[in-house]
């Protein structure tokens, strides 16, 4: 029987699909319907991720082998309707209608419907089927539905929808084979969708009442699936009573994130150490193999310090990115992330951001890169942009060595004050981010925060395969998109810190001669010390006279009101691409030697002893505080800029982010220095 008779108006806008002509299949379905799991089961872990041309909507593409050859599978964004209200919906609609370029137009569609939630999923079906793309329905979560006491009438559903319905259990690879033959089947005999005209017209005007569609969805749903038994969703209900509680829910979420962070910091440091060691070793090996003298020295330096150092400096971020995304994927897949957004919603609204901004902003405390990449969950474009803009203000792990150095300079022997200063730096980052968020929402990105409407799907065991696939994806995107830019700038900065070359200073030459004498007198230890001193002097002199050093010297007047001397100014410049570089630059410039930067005590004593030309110490309380504030707030991270460009689709926003953070950091450091100088 037909639940609702809706007239069919066959129109053949599309050329009829020839056998063997199937080249592209689009996967379309609600979020949480198991689309990603099915995509991974169909294509394996070899998906390519890119953006739909001209948008920031992500497109995953993989390959599926049918009898006539490989077919490309396009994973359209998860959506509830095709009404073109969001960019995702617009893109999905355009793709299905063949309005994108030819390479993007699917010949057929796999419509993913969640058997446990048929009524809601069928609403999307009411919009997809009238588009007359040959469609196969993949019914997911059939086992969960049966466990929940839902009996399904698949032949009837197939009749109602006018297309083949294949039950699949993607995590176990069940039904994938049947789905393949069904796809081949529709090529041979395309089914006619049963609903068209009225509902199809309804979809073209967004103001049209949705009721007819929902009535259709509900009647087909209740006709083809029985109501769930009492046990269905009971676990979810029980969990939600606790997890969505106003206070307990927030507390538990804090606990969950604490564990995730602990994992990031405790696990990531090992691979980060390996990466650093590996690149150090490779650099050393290359340096020892390369011939010495003249141009070769430059080439060695370029390879070792510029290229290998640059690649290493980029890859060292990967462990954190990977671990954070892995856990976020698990949390999202389990259904918990929706609850997290739910409980944080009210708090986040106070700064004009939706609850979904919370996880990215929190993640930024590990690293701004994955944080910015994870803002895609925020539907509203303005809210997403604000989140991206303020995320780098949060104290990421690369700031920790800088904080550690400054705090050690200030309060090495007063642990309480030291911890307070450290905590204060973190707090300053958070406060600055929230204040800036409010400011942006009131000025350039004005507009109400989208009030939250979020589906709270049933909890389920997260899929390791999905999490791994997402993690691999994000890492590749980072390496491909951000990596190349970072590498180029690393080489440029290397060149600026290396050229023009200068001869070793007279003192260094004298020391070398002296060292040779001392060695001849039978005191190799003293000679070694002198050589090291000579090398420090040479490096110091070289950096001081390089382009970077000259620029640092040139911009020194700009930073003088902040209490920075010319060496700190050079450090600010060289750490433009990666903030932690300031530590090694200061080590070189103050003649500690790069290796000693690891040794806190030596570094600290040398820096504290450093004097300005007029004999006053460089690192006074005021200068230290000002430097700390500057590094809390300044951008000083090139990878972040590259990722912001990718996620916003424009260098404009990346440039704006750099500009506002620099102005903010400068002004705050200026105020800090001036006020602190008055007091001291």
């Amino acid at each position: 029987m037909t639940t609702l008779s809706l007239p069919v108006a066959p129109s053949s806008r599309r050329p009829r699909l020839q056998p063997g002509g199937l080249q592209r299949v689009a996967l379309v379905g609600n979020p949480n319907a198991g689309k990603t799991t099915l995509f991974n089961a169909l294509t394996g872990l070899r998906a390519k991720t890119s953006n739909f041309p001209g948008t920031t909507v992500e497109k995953r593409q993989g390959q599926l082998t049918l009898s006539h050859g490989p077919v490309s599978v396009i994973d359209l964004p998860g959506l509830y309707s095709l009404d073109a209200a969001t960019q995702e919906e617009q893109v999905a609609r355009d793709a299905l209608l063949g309005r994108l370029s030819d390479e993007q137009t699917p010949d057929a569609a796999i419509l993913v419907l969640d058997a446990t939630n048929l009524d809601r999923n069928l609403f999307l079906a009411s919009q997809v089927l009238p588009l007359e793309v040959p469609t196969v329905v993949a019914l997911t979560m059939v086992d969960a539905a049966q466990r929940g006491g839902i009996t399904l009438d698949l032949p009837k559903l197939s009749t109602e929808l006018g297309c083949p319905v294949v039950p699949v259990n993607a995590p176990k690879n069940e039904g994938v084979e049947a789905l393949r033959s069904a796809l081949e089947g529709i090529v041979a005999a395309p089914a006619t969708p049963k609903i068209t005209n009225e509902l199809a017209e309804c979809g073209t005007c967004s103001g049209c009442p949705f009721s007819a569609r929902y009535d259709w969805a509900e009647s087909v749903g209740s006709g083809c699936a029985s109501q769930p038994g009492e046990s269905m969703g009971r676990t979810t209900e029980r969990l939600d009573r606790v997890l969505t509680h106003k206070r307990v829910g927030v507390l538990l979420f804090a606990l969950v994130m604490l564990v995730v962070f602990w994992m990031i910091f405790s696990i990531a440091q090992h691979p980060m150490g390996w990466i650093e060691t590996l690149f150090g070793t490779v650099g050393g090996a290359v340096a020892s193999v390369m011939p010495a003298g003249g141009v070769w020295d430059d080439a060695t330096s370029l390879l070792v310090d510029g290229v290998i150092g640059g690649v290493g400096g980029m890859l060292v971020f990967l462990p954190q990115i990977a671990i954070l995304f892995f856990f976020i994927a698990l949390l999202e897949d389990s259904g918990y992330l929706a609850r997290a957004a739910f409980v944080m919603d009210r708090l986040m609204h106070r700064v004009g951001l939706p609850g979904k901004s919370f996880v990215p902003l929190l993640s930024a405390h590990a690293c701004a890169l994955p944080a910015i990449m994870s803002t895609r969950v925020i539907e509203n474009k303005r809210d997403r942009l604000v989140t991206i803009l303020v995320a780098p203000l949060m104290t990421c792990s690369a700031r920790v060595p800088v904080y550690a150095l400054i705090v050690a300079l200030l309060f090495a022997d007063r642990p309480w004050l030291a911890s307070l200063t450290f905590a204060g730096a973190y707090a300053l980052g958070v406060v600055a981010a929230l204040v800036m968020a409010v400011l942006f929402k009131r000025t350039i990105l004005r507009g109400d925060t989208d009030p939250t409407v979020i589906e709270l799907p049933n909890y389920r065991w997260p899929s390791l395969r999905n999490a791994l696939s997402l993690t691999l994806d994000r890492c590749w995107i980072f390496i491909k998109k951000a990596g190349t830019i970072i590498l180029v700038i690393s080489v440029v900065l290397w060149a600026m810190a290396t050229y023009p070359k200068t001869d070793a200073p007279a003192e260094a030459v004298a020391l070398e001669t002296q060292a040779a004498q001392v060695e001849a007198e039978g005191n190799p230890a003293a000679a070694e010390a002198m050589r090291a001193e000579a090398e420090h002097l040479t490096n110091q002199n070289a950096l001081d006279h390089s382009i970077a050093g000259r620029i640092g010297n040139f911009i020194e007047p700009v930073f003088a009101p902040l209490g920075f001397d010319e060496r700190i100014s050079i450090g600010v410049f060289t750490s433009f691409a990666a903030r932690e570089v300031i530590v090694s630059t200061l080590a070189v410039l103050y003649g500690v030697g790069e290796d000693a930067a690891e040794d806190d005590a030596t570094m600290r004593e040398t820096l504290l002893a450093a004097k300005r030309d007029d004999g006053t110490p460089v690192f006074t309380l005021a200068t230290c505080l000002s430097l700390l504030v500057f590094y809390v707030l300044a951008m000083q991270c090139l990878p972040t800029q590259a990722v912001t460009k990718r996620e916003t689709g424009s260098w404009g926003w990346a440039g704006f982010q750099l500009a506002y953070m620099t102005v903010l950091a400068y002004s705050a450091a200026l105020v800090t220095y001036q006020v602190a100088s008055l007091w001291a």
Partner: protein, 144 residues
Amino acid sequence: MAGPETPTDSGDPTPTPPADPDRASRPGTPAVLDPHAPGCLDLEAKPLSTLPPMKVAVIERVDEEHDHADRLKALGLCVGRKLQVVKTGDPLIVRVLGSRLGLSARLAERVFVAPCMNSGQPPEAGPALTAAQTDESKTEINPA
């Protein structure tokens, strides 16, 4: 994979969603109440945000500007749908179309619903008043 024949309406000529008393009496699931059935709905529509927990109601109108209304509609908060409040507060949780939605109170204030007098009970006789009667689109689902 096909389950046994569903107990509901195979061969049943009535095209409207069935008012199945078995469903309606089950706790935790929104009672499927026929909006056309008499006596089900309260006379006065009130904001969703004022509904007590577990109350079942039918959406009568949504006073929201364009883009938010679209988001609501896409998730099933649309005229004529039945919903049940699972958790009150801000944001609140409603069950609609078989799944749970988190909804900020600001939006819930703009969704006007006609509460069912006997939530969880089969509809009883009473004054015929439904939200759906004022909605033209409803005419489509009348028995053809």
